[in-house]
Symmetry: C2
Subunit: 339 residues, 2 copies
């Protein structure tokens, strides 16, 4: 089934079941007013939501129109948002551009950081940034939402705790990153609020494209209307989702509604870095990566970071060409400072 | 007023108003069933809770007995938990022990990391750890809970967004830290679930001990019944709470219910490192600090990390000797692995 959250209804919005074609929806206040409440009681709640989903899909005249612009992120606020860096190719490239070797352990021990989760942007909300000089970038990713995960779970057992999947725009402020990472405590100001796709889906919605660990479909990113990347999310993912969930739960539980991200989707080409779409490659899922390759090839980046008014669109299509999650589609806007 | 959350009532527990002497409490389902709901609508809700508090304190026969062992952390799960390192003295010492200089920017730009917030331990809950070899440590700290904080807020304006204060035990697994920080993304597995004091209080409960930025009272830590530290939380705090909140909100909003921590409370002595309580000093707020000083003085640490069965108690007393927040009082227990 497909689930979304309309903004109307307060800080946690209103849970709706969405039709497979993303055109219609139905609120379910008698079952679960919010997605977090559905996740809190998933075992009892999910079958009831599935019944609504079946009915909604069976009658094309039922439900209300679904407008992604009225949607919040599926969890408008979450108790945990941890983002991995599972496409190690991406990490290796970025480090290469600054002349840093990558420790061999990066291929066996996932990188992961905790992001801000108290106020996500909606999938069509503007991205507010105070200053273009921060180096505004998107990161196209996939994330899972978990149920309750016990401490010390194995990757095999973690698979069964994955409830939903969705897309992510992990907004990054690149020029704030070097000083922040140099302090040793990881990202903070350099990773402002993320946004997620209008719709979160149960793994079965992906059919054969979900192999229990990865999503084997291209993740399509457009920048200002032009195709920027379509790497396959099932290729070069060194750590699959169950492995990422197990990593996150090694020393603590993960409570229902925890979001675990894949990191920027990135594909190699013939064992080396990928090529831009314009040169016949699958392109990229963030500006930092193309700038890295430009730096390696020409000594400096050519592609600028995002400017106010620029727009990024992130989407994924199934084998029949239908959008699975709806689109993240966001302009960057200037935020006027508070005091 | 003083607020707490009883475990009964589900994942978010049951909000209660607690008497000033911490002996009695009253649930307020008609005002706000949970602390998060109170924070979500603070402007309207707080005056009603204050009225309950006044009535509860006026009639010593009213309310139900308050038992900290039945309490969850005031927010059993939160949408944001970010911990600073405001006592820069502590950071300088830890770095000195490993022969690392501290960048001068550490005195002007706060260190802060995002911790797991989806499932806090209760104030009297055991701390489950799989292996003593992880290097089990406590960190005694103070934290604030904010209301809605706008992006780019100044430190001056941030002061008005502080709703509640409480104590923290920021449990740390020291032997997992070096490898984790070496990866560059900050803490993750090395910082398992934290716990907070039984009671959170509005700033006015601190009287003159709250100067609008800091809590000017000793933070008292006992290890296995013996006094381990009583550094003054108002001394050597390089970044006060409004500054920490403004740092956290530089590039994003903070939503109501965000928790911002001070980091380990630490006092210098005569410009140098403090002394153990047994040597006439004010002691420490974590084992890492005394081990660091032992390393500087004798070449290696003498004090072991916590073992299964060890117990830490963290509390703060006002000028009259009364406990302000109640005590965090937790044993460490062995967690048996899942699969």
């Amino acid at each position: 089934m497909k689930l979304a959250t309309l903004k109307a209804g307060g800080r946690d919005g209103t849970l709706v079941v969405v039709s497979k074609d993303l055109t219609r929806c139905r609120a379910v206040p008698g079952i679960a007013p919010t997605l977090q409440q559905a996740l809190d009681g998933w075992t009892e709640v999910a079958p009831k939501l599935e019944a609504v989903s079946r009915a909604l899909n069976a009658d094309a005249a039922s439900g209300e129109p679904f407008d992604p612009a009225q949607a919040a992120s599926p969890l408008p606020r979450a108790y945990q948002w941890a983002d991995g860096s599972a496409y190690v190719n991406h990490v290796e490239l970025v480090r290469k551009a600054r002349g840093a070797d990558m420790p061999p352990s990066f291929w066996t021990d996932p990188l992961m950081y905790q992001g801000c989760s108290d106020a996500f942007l909606g999938p069509c909300d503007p991205i507010p940034v105070a200053d273009e000089a921060f180096g505004i970038d998107f990161e196209s990713e996939i994330a899972v939402i978990t149920g309750d995960v016990p401490m010390g779970v194995s990757a095999d057992a973690a698979r069964g705790h994955i409830r939903l999947l969705m897309l992510v725009n992990d907004v990054s402020l690149r020029n704030l990153i070097p000083a922040e990472l140099a302090k040793g405590f990881g990202f903070f100001q350099s990773k402002p609020a993320s946004s997620f796709s209008p719709v979160a889906v149960t793994p079965d919605e992906l059919g054969g494209a979900w192999d229990g660990g990865k999503v084997n479909l291209p993740l399509v990113t457009h920048l200002n209307g032009a195709l920027f990347g379509r790497p396959d999310a099932g290729v070069d993912m060194t750590f699959d989702f169950p492995t990422l969930v197990a990593h996150a739960a090694k020393t603590r539980v993960l409570a229902a509604g925890s979001i675990i991200g894949s990191g920027t989707v990135s594909n190699k080409l013939d064992g080396g870095p990928g090529k831009p779409v314009g040169q016949g490659g699958v392109g990229y899922s963030c500006l930092a990566e193309i700038r890295t390759i430009e730096t390696i090839e020409t000594g400096k980046p050519q592609t600028p970071f995002m400017r106010f008014g620029d727009r990024v669109r992130i989407e994924m299509f199934d084998g029949a060409g239908d959008s699975v999650f709806g689109a993240i589609d966001q302009p960057v806007v200037q935020h006027r400072g508070q005091n």
